[in-house]
């Protein structure tokens, strides 16, 4: 039930590419806590599809530019 997510993300780099947006700014703009943004950035939590879309929209990229899902390793 509690397992690391395989979803990867580029949120940190994208925040810096968007005027060095802070985690708090991003959190405020999508209505989550700063701790949730930290957990998502660190790969400790994968957001719902809706929050993922909101993050991508605020960072002005496509969803698959903000988030990735690596192929199964043989």
């Amino acid at each position: 039930m509690v397992k690391p997510t395989r979803v990867t993300n580029s949120i940190r780099a994208l925040r810096f590419a968007n005027g060095e947006m802070t985690q708090a700014d991003l959190a405020d703009r999508i209505g989550v806590t700063r701790q949730t943004i930290i957990a998502i950035e660190q790969g400790k939590y994968s957001p719902s599809l809706e929050v993922a879309f909101q993050i991508a929209r605020v960072l002005r990229v496509r969803l698959d530019e903000a988030f990735g899902y690596p192929d199964e390793q043989g």
């Binding site: 509690v2 397992k3 690391p4 997510t5 806590t33 790969g43 400790k44 994968s46 957001p47």
Partner: protein, 142 residues
């Protein structure tokens, strides 16, 4: 630290002293005289009411320390909250089952009440510890 995490730390900081104070008032009596003569009702009420009042006060202080975050709860908070409650409920259920068995076997009221009381306190503690662990480690429900 998210407000809900602080709130769970409050539960731990309040529940442990409440349990220890209750134990300090009751355990010496249990060891020293018959169960029927043990004065446990007042200490238990004191522990329960003290826990509730201190928990409310602790949450007010936690909210006042960062008012901006006190009313913000997102999906992750809700998922962690529900997960912790589900885990903690197992101890509450266990305490209730023990109380049921004690009642069926005509045990003294002292043991029945204490099974429920300890199940409740232990459940609250387990729930809060689970939530805090979820806040710090990987957390995914699917």
């Amino acid at each position: 630290m998210a407000f809900l995490e602080k709130s769970n730390w409050v539960v731990i900081f309040v529940a442990v002293p409440a349990l220890l104070i209750y134990a300090a008032l009751v355990v010496p009596q249990v060891l020293g005289k018959p169960i029927a003569e043990v004065s446990w009702v007042q200490p238990m009420i004191f522990a329960i009411v003290g826990f509730i009042v201190a928990n409310i006060a602790g949450n007010v202080v936690a909210a006042a320390s960062n008012p901006g975050e006190a009313d913000r709860k997102d999906q992750r908070d809700t998922e962690i909250d529900h997960f912790g409650e589900r885990v903690g409920n197992w101890l509450i259920i266990a305490g209730s089952i023990v109380a049921l068995v004690l009642a069926m076997t005509s045990a003294d009221h002292f043991w029945i009440a204490n099974a429920i009381f300890l199940g409740g306190i232990a459940g609250a503690l387990l729930s809060s510890v689970t939530k805090i662990a979820a806040y710090h480690g990987p957390f995914q429900q699917w």
